[in-house]
């Protein structure tokens, strides 16, 4: 019992060679692992279920809903969701036959998320540099004002912002969709300022002595030195933008600006008479989830380790 309390893996290894080490069975530990495995299963099962259902035939699903593997295996769901199946083909497999094109929504989501993230991170980095490194009157007041914006719930600003975008004639356009996210978020500025404050000033001072301006210092020194937190912030922002729902629902109203999340909601409400097209819906859901899951595969370690309170000290 006592050995399990040793908190780090290294100290456990040391005791393992000692007399107490490597207890074969410890009921508490076994129970803890069992609980952990159950949690992991609950976490993963819905992902498996998306996959399993997307490879099934919707009509057959109603006959064998409890089957763990795909029911009547087919790629039909993907074909009709990507607009590659004819109306009759789609209806034969339990689709609604309405034309859907998730390639288009995939493109829209990508434009929205990537452009919004790029603008937001870049402009926030510029501002963060001014808050962390430049001396100007009112700096702390302005910074505090930016931070208070964190308190305002998005729905509260969404109503007037919608009116603004509507009056500008930008409803159903990418500029209208992207604008509120493009210039800053309080969080991004806060996150980057916190990091810039921690960068050693020596290199910057040396560059300044050599006559480099702030502009040069920012692009040649600060940005390259901070690529790690900037990457982290970009990925986190990309995740948030990709998953954004309310604003795109209000503003991305036509086909050419409809993002995946909104399209999924529309697709789900187009229920064919025979019952919901579950296979098609799950295929669509996987298409919407996959890009982020792929990004996550490459950056998992960085993202996982970035979650915490180090940014706020």
């Amino acid at each position: 019992m006592v050995t399990t309390i040793a908190p780090t893996s290294t100290s456990r290894k040391q005791t393992a060679t000692g007399t107490r080490g490597r207890k074969p069975v410890n009921p508490g530990r076994v129970a803890a692992w069992a609980a952990m495995i159950i949690i992991i299963l609950i976490t993963l099962f819905p992902f498996y279920w998306m996959l399993r259902t997307s490879f099934s035939t919707s009509k057959a699903l109603f006959l064998e809903p409890g089957r763990l593997g795909p029911v009547d295996f087919t790629l039909g769901a993907y074909k009709r969701v990507l607009g590659l199946a004819s109306t009759t083909e789609a209806q034969a497999e339990g689709g609604s036959g309405a034309s859907v094109d998730f390639f288009l929504y995939l493109r829209n989501s990508t434009i929205f998320a990537v452009v919004a993230t790029a603008g937001q991170v870049f402009f926030s980095a510029l501002a963060a540099y001014a808050f962390a490194r430049l001396k100007w009157p009112g700096r702390d007041v302005v910074f505090f004002a930016f931070l208070t914006a964190l308190m305002v719930p998005p729905i509260f600003t969404a109503l007037p912002n919608f009116i603004l975008i509507k009056n500008l004639g930008l409803l159903g356009t990418f500029p209208g969709l992207i604008a509120p996210y493009f210039f800053m978020t309080p969080f991004a500025i806060f996150f980057l300022r916190q990091f810039f404050l921690g960068i050693n000033r020596e290199v910057e001072e040396a560059a300044r002595l050599d006559g480099a301006g702030h502009w040069m210092v920012f692009f040649r020194i600060v940005l390259p030195m901070s690529w790690a937190p900037i990457t982290t912030l970009s990925i986190l922002t990309l995740i948030n933008m990709w998953n954004e729902y309310l604003w795109p629902l209000l503003v991305g109203t036509n086909e050419s600006t409809r993002v995946l999340n909104v399209a999924l909601g529309v697709f789900r409400s187009q229920t064919p008479q025979t019952g919901p097209d579950w296979a098609g819906l799950m295929a669509a859901v996987l298409i919407a989830a996959l890009p982020l899951l792929i990004v996550f595969m490459f950056f998992a370690k960085r993202i996982v380790n970035s979650i915490g309170f180090s940014g706020s000290k």
């Binding site: 402009f123 509120p180 995740i239 729902y245 999924l264 998992a300 915490g308």
Partner: protein, 315 residues
């Protein structure tokens, strides 16, 4: 003094005093013009998409504003109307019920998972798996569970039927809609919350546990006597984030129950969107969202008070 200051600071000071005109200009001059260039885009975004709509939103809340017409000032009319609006009070009740269930289960599970991870494995792969649901959107999480909890073809109801229990109308029942939506969002957010807690647990030094174990404390006692008390400030911070997020539940409701059955899941944000965008009552919708704004501000302030109260535990 000079011997104890970190080298970075002394360097900066020395550089400034000896060079003078190079890096740091005389104290009177600031970098204002440069700073304005650097913050110009962010400032524009802040003024146009945060500050202006906040002020405008408060003004809208004092008007009768049909989305097609012009705002018409009516003073506190919307707020007095709000008091008599049974649907508004219902939405408050439903939202509070959701927040209570969501936060209770999410926090308990997240603390459990966080402690399990700390005790069992620091493996990054395990943490990555735990985080997976957070990567998919609320909409996707809602749709997958909508399938899994479907009355006829849902695997959960299949299992219930197999072991001889009654099928449950999860999303479709008056009493079950809100708990179901809460459960779906617990599934999506518990891993992320657990990682926050896990990060907090890393700040508790090992020697505290070692000392406790030397004194014969069991795991169970250590958890209640050491982990939880020392975790309190972090828990408060986590709760500020999760509670304010929880109050703004919308996505899940919009793609599954659409407020139903009846008004059983007509949460406050859904009601705001319905009033503003479906019924075109922009002034009234603004008034409700201002109330939400105030509630969230109070909740955050109260919680931060609690946070400060707990800060000295590990000094």
């Amino acid at each position: 003094m000079s011997t104890t200051t970190p080298p970075v600071d002394s360097m900066t000071v020395a550089g400034a005093s000896t060079v003078g005109k190079g890096s740091d200009r005389p104290p009177g001059r600031s970098d204002l013009s440069m700073a304005l260039v650097f913050i110009a885009p962010a400032l524009f975004g802040f003024l146009v998409f945060y500050l202006y709509p906040t002020i405008r939103g408060i003004y809208f809340s004092l008007t009768r504003y049909n989305i097609l017409g012009r705002p018409h000032f009516i003073g506190l009319g919307n707020y007095t109307k709000l008091f008599g609006d049974a649907l508004f009070w219902n939405s408050m009740k439903v939202t509070l019920e959701y927040v209570a269930l969501n936060i209770l289960f999410q926090t308990v599970l997240a603390v459990g998972i966080g402690v399990l991870m700390q005790r069992l494995t620091k493996n990054t792969a395990v943490r990555a798996v735990i985080l997976l649901p957070f990567l998919i959107s609320n909409v996707i999480a809602a749709l997958v569970w909508f399938l899994m909890l479907d009355f006829q073809v849902g695997i959960v109801n299949e299992i219930l039927a197999d072991i001889g229990l009654d099928r449950i109308t999860f999303f479709g029942g008056d009493a079950t809609a809100i708990p179901t939506i809460a459960a779906v969002n617990v599934w999506r957010h518990m891993g992320y919350t657990a990682l926050l807690i896990f990060a907090g647990l890393q700040t508790i030094p090992d020697y505290v546990y070692e000392a406790a174990s030397v004194d014969g404390s069991t795991e169970w006692r250590s958890f209640w006597r050491i982990t939880l008390p020392l975790l309190r400030p972090i828990l408060a911070l986590v709760l500020v984030i999760t509670v304010t997020g929880s109050f703004q539940i919308f996505d899940t409701v919009n793609v599954t129950t659409r407020g139903g059955p009846g008004n059983a899941s007509r949460v406050i944000q859904y009601y705001i969107v319905q009033k503003g965008f479906t019924e075109g009552q922009f002034g009234y919708a603004s008034a409700i969202s201002f109330v939400l704004f105030v509630i969230l501000a109070i909740v955050a302030l109260v919680q931060l008070r609690l946070l400060n109260a707990g800060e000295s535990d590990l000094a």
